[in-house]
Subunit: 650 residues, 2 copies
């Protein structure tokens, strides 16, 4: 030892100093809820600055407005008008999807975008109503109150649900629980959106075939039964018109996809179909021949609706539940879309701040006759392609919608419903992201099945069932991973002191007399007994192998804990039992590179003394060297140990 004493002590795995419980709890909570350290800029600032920074933090427009230029405005003006031309027909269409009066769809494109422009941190997001949430509203609330028999009460319920969606979104953001949205994985969202798009498309058969009675269920079986039970009510005029418009919309999409500069063809197409369709009906009086039209739309801006919030309603629980579901769906899409476009332009989006903005926008919306709004992908893509520079494009869009509300609503009188259906179908087909599903299949089969489960759950069951299936399966996957971690046998990479999995590295060689195992997951109660059994199996399998190969017997078991990030009391018990088992077989257990949390718990449970601090090494290489040293110089001791073990067995 002597001269290498200091060297040795440097190389030892240290036990971390014990921290007071409250302090470590505080650090842990901070890391859980404030991982991005949002108040970093507030540090070391005078109070007045702190106030200004705080205001800028919550109302980002204060921060960027002074830097806004006329050039930016020109770009935003064009983008805003382009988006508005899409927003007006989409607003009306999605309102019909939610079974509410079409005018509410227009109202919803006026107030919320204004609020988002002030509070939101995305420069590209175009706010508006979303198809999936609209469908969810009609399927979840339609069960409670019939939108045709009791339209006033139904609309009140929709506002109430929107209010709770906003409250839920804002609370998630304020409580820094934004990470809940991360639990909807990409695979879940692809499957879920695809399923929702599919059932929305089938729902449009109502508009296409000019049917008046239609099922409230959303699953494929009910919809098809409803459609085919009314074959005699089908209106061919309506269907032909719809197919023509759909063909036109898909054709424009095809061209705009082939050349990015043609994006405006795609953006303008819905408005064009609305104008063409309305003209056609007006000129041919088709409304008298079975083509249903929108009819009268009230002129004027959003009426206040705070007094319509039905907190005393017997359906309050349904409204709250619907609010939570649509709130989280809206957030998941909105934040994913915001982040995607922020990536392109290299700026950062704070998820929790966005949630507060979304929440405020929906709370305010529910008091001004708007229903749920979020950041739909299609509208945001148009905004981005039209060259928007900031949230001012949302203000421009809102102004254009205001103009429509004030002066242009009579023009929609003759717009046929079938045009709205074709606009919805065209938008939905874009959500069927089969390429993403293929990508999932290629990279990760499990993710593909999650996606498929969500899709089938939505199409064959209901939107909620699909969501529940996908989230459960996703979480099960994590739990299963933690319940069945991999254990690997390590071998030596030739001409080096490196030890790696012999499965992965064909060139790695095993070390005679030593079994090196690695656990590649945290050790928790869910996997403790599995690991105990699996490691025992590795040991006896290795003993069998050595015996049948006639090689030297096993003397050491090295456990590499590098990848064990955490351990609980069950894990500690497991290690203790493992140590006893190993000792009982006359072998020696060595631990390698326990991380600080593992070291701390080994120390607190006194297991470190039972194993012996001298048997804990910094690297596998050092542990192997120690074993080899003892194997070659202390053979006599080993013979004695072996005999002892034999006696124990008898």
């Amino acid at each position: 030892m002597g001269s290498t004493g200091e060297y040795e002590s440097q190389r030892r795995v240290p036990v971390p100093p014990s921290k007071p419980f409250l302090k470590s709890l505080q650090a842990r909570l901070k890391e859980t809820f404030f991982p991005d350290d949002p108040f970093r800029q507030f540090k070391n600032q005078p109070t007045s600055n702190k106030f200004l920074l705080g205001l800028q933090y919550f109302v980002p427009i204060i921060e960027w407005a002074p830097r806004y230029t006329f050039n930016f405005f020109k770009a935003d003006l064009i983008a805003g008008i382009t988006v508005a031309s899409l927003a007006v027909p989409q607003g009306i269409s999605y309102a019909s999807l939610a079974s509410i009066p079409p005018i509410i769809g227009l109202y919803s494109s006026f107030v919320p975008p204004l609020l988002y422009a002030m509070l939101g941190s995305s420069r590209d997001l175009a706010v508006g109503t979303v198809a999936v949430a609209s469908l969810l509203i009609s399927s979840m609330l339609g069960k409670e109150v019939s939108p045709t028999e009791n339209p006033k009460q139904y609309v009140q319920l929709v506002f109430t649900a929107t209010f709770f969606a906003g409250v839920f979104q804002a609370s998630l953001g304020i409580l820094r629980l934004g990470f809940i949205v991360d639990f909807l994985s990409h695979a879940t969202i692809v499957g879920f959106m695809g399923g929702a798009a599919t059932i929305v498309c089938f729902q449009q058969l109502k508009g296409f075939l000019g049917l008046i009675h239609f099922t409230h269920e959303t699953d494929l079986v009910s919809v098809m039964r409803s459609v085919f039970s009314q074959i005699h009510q089908w209106r061919w005029e309506s269907a032909v018109l719809g197919c023509c418009f759909l063909f036109f919309l898909l054709l424009t999409r095809y061209f705009s996809k082939r050349k990015a500069a043609f994006f405006w063809i795609n953006a303008m197409a819905p408005l064009t179909t609305v104008i063409l369709g309305s003209l056609l009906v007006y000129l041919t009086h088709a409304e008298k021949h079975g083509v249903q039209v929108i009819g009268h739309l009230k002129k004027g801006l959003n009426p206040p609706s705070a007094s319509d919030l039905a907190f005393g309603s017997p359906h309050l629980m349904a409204a709250i539940k619907t609010g939570i579901v649509i709130g989280i769906i809206g957030l998941a899409e909105g934040i994913a879309v915001g982040r995607t476009f922020a990536m392109f332009k290299n700026y950062h989006i704070d998820g929790n701040k966005e949630m507060i903005a979304f929440g405020m926008m929906n709370i305010a919306g529910s008091c001004t006759s708007c229903y749920l709004t979020a950041g739909p992908f299609s509208r945001t893509a148009v905004n981005f392609n039209a060259g928007s520079r900031s949230a001012v494009s949302n203000i421009v869009m809102a102004a254009a919608v205001m103009f429509t509300l004030l002066f242009l609503t009579p023009l929609f009188h003759y717009t046929p419903l079938v045009v709205l259906s074709s606009i919805i179908i065209a938008a939905m087909l874009a959500l069927l992201d089969y390429e993403a599903a293929i990508h999932l299949w290629k990279i990760d089969k499990f993710d593909f099945f999650i996606c498929l489960g969500a899709y089938l759950g939505v199409v064959l069951g209901s939107v909620e069932i699909g969501l529940i299936i996908a989230i459960t399966v996703s979480l099960l996957r994590i739990i299963l991973f933690v319940a069945r971690p991999r254990t690997m046998v390590l071998g030596n990479i030739p001409n080096s002191g490196i030890y790696r999995s012999m499965d992965q590295y064909q060139i790695a060689n095993s070390v005679p007399g030593i079994l090196i195992l690695q656990i590649d997951a945290p050790v928790f109660f869910t996997n403790a007994s599995y690991l105990r059994e699996r490691i025992s199996r590795w040991i006896y399998e290795e003993e069998d192998r050595l015996k049948s190969a006639g090689e030297a017997s096993l003397h050491y078991v090295i456990l590499d804990l590098s990848a064990v990030g955490s351990i609980d009391t069950s894990g500690i018990s497991m290690l203790e039992e493992l140590m006893k088992n190993v000792h009982r077989k006359g072998l020696q257990l060595l631990l390698v590179n326990p991380q600080s949390e593992v070291m701390k718990k080994l120390d607190k449970s006194k297991l470190i003394d039972k194993i012996g601090q001298g048997w804990i090494f910094l690297t596998v290489g050092e542990a192997v060297s120690a074993c080899n040293f003892m194997l070659h110089t202390c053979k006599s001791i080993h013979v004695a140990v072996d005999q002892n073990a034999e006696e124990n067995k008898v």
Copy 2:
């Protein structure tokens, strides 16, 4: 390069060869469901041997019976009789806890132990009824059918629940789903058992105070309200008797604990109290002065009860639910107890096989007038201490109970109920494992809170609430760990090529111009966006630190993936975004030691080509050497890159 070419290629991280999907699925499923390789012994055996081995596998008695000796029998005889002396009073007491006739408690100690002796693989487990399951039966089924008003229907429901418990247990075993039991962690079980013991004790106030009417609720508040609302019905005679017996039982336990050889004092004490209590009542005619007694017990063995199974009952769902809950509680205790004692004697217990044995025993029990049986800790400890050598002690116990049933039941006529209450309380106080709770607090605060949650949930809510709280919190902990993995900055340990967390190793030094990060958990959708944000924060914090310290700027980010055991598509996207972010800042990303699954997905997603195979290293040391080489020889290139980055920012 030249001469080191071969060396270099040896050192590269290989992409594992792609396996067909079905093959890898099969391997995965085998590892999940057959981790202990139970059919190992069947390999390379002729068919006749396979049949015998299979029979021995499912009916272990065939395997060990030929080796059974007379010496073993002597030991088992003593142990069996000792356990029987505990089993008879316990059986009667726990039956009263389940609100069923006391005789069923005796029946339950006759058939199930015989079956377990044939099918079970534990040599020490003593089969019998368990207090917690008894309480659960009366609280869950008592809500459906009143045991006092409708005793026949209630007993039928109890048999039906027992049947379903057996079916559930056996199916878990057959389907190799035994690991579900692992989801009840040690901490959960300590808290849950403690809570159940507490409420069982408070329930005994009914017997102690001689009350006739009592609440069906199990929570503390209801029980105390029920007790104190009937102050005038309290019977002091009963209470005095109960306190004396309880004192006696606790005293004997105290002595037997101080000296292991006195275990039989503890084992015999309950029977002694029963005899003393019965004699006392018989001599003083106390049954006429407010001391309730058991009364008439039918002579004779178990009557068949298969026709009593109420599959057509309107309460069938409640019976199934109760069956599942008590089934899993029974398994959790039974298997934990079996494993604990198997550890002492160094033999192995196959959890799935045990489940089949437990299931068969309860299915057979439900058809022979028995209710749920498992392997209670107290009885097994007595069996072990009495020197049992094999499951024959269960047969001896069953024979002793049979003798009791045939000839001795009239003797229990005068046994006062308060004696049963004191036996139950004495048994329950042993389950209040406060030392285990302290141990949890010391080692793992989180586990302690899980334990406390289970305890309070059971005591203040109900047994089911406690169980749900504990399991949810346990799983949340795992999900939270996976949602918020730790990222660590690594530094160089002086005089070595080893890199370790700078937090844990005070002596580790950072490397100029290079940031080395380690992720210590699998990368899944739940943590992908967290990791992206956290790693970005590490990078800008390091840049800020270097700037304020006036040191050389950052050029390389090394990501050590050694501890990333698994990754999904969200994780791959995260790595890709991270790479883009890092490149945009003019830095270079290096990956170190990705495991085979990560390598496979990097390859399939083509991310490996975007990052560049040359930037993936086997060890952190090699990656740092490569960076240093380039930092010192290619400075001019870096200056150019820096300028480029500056231009990009403008």
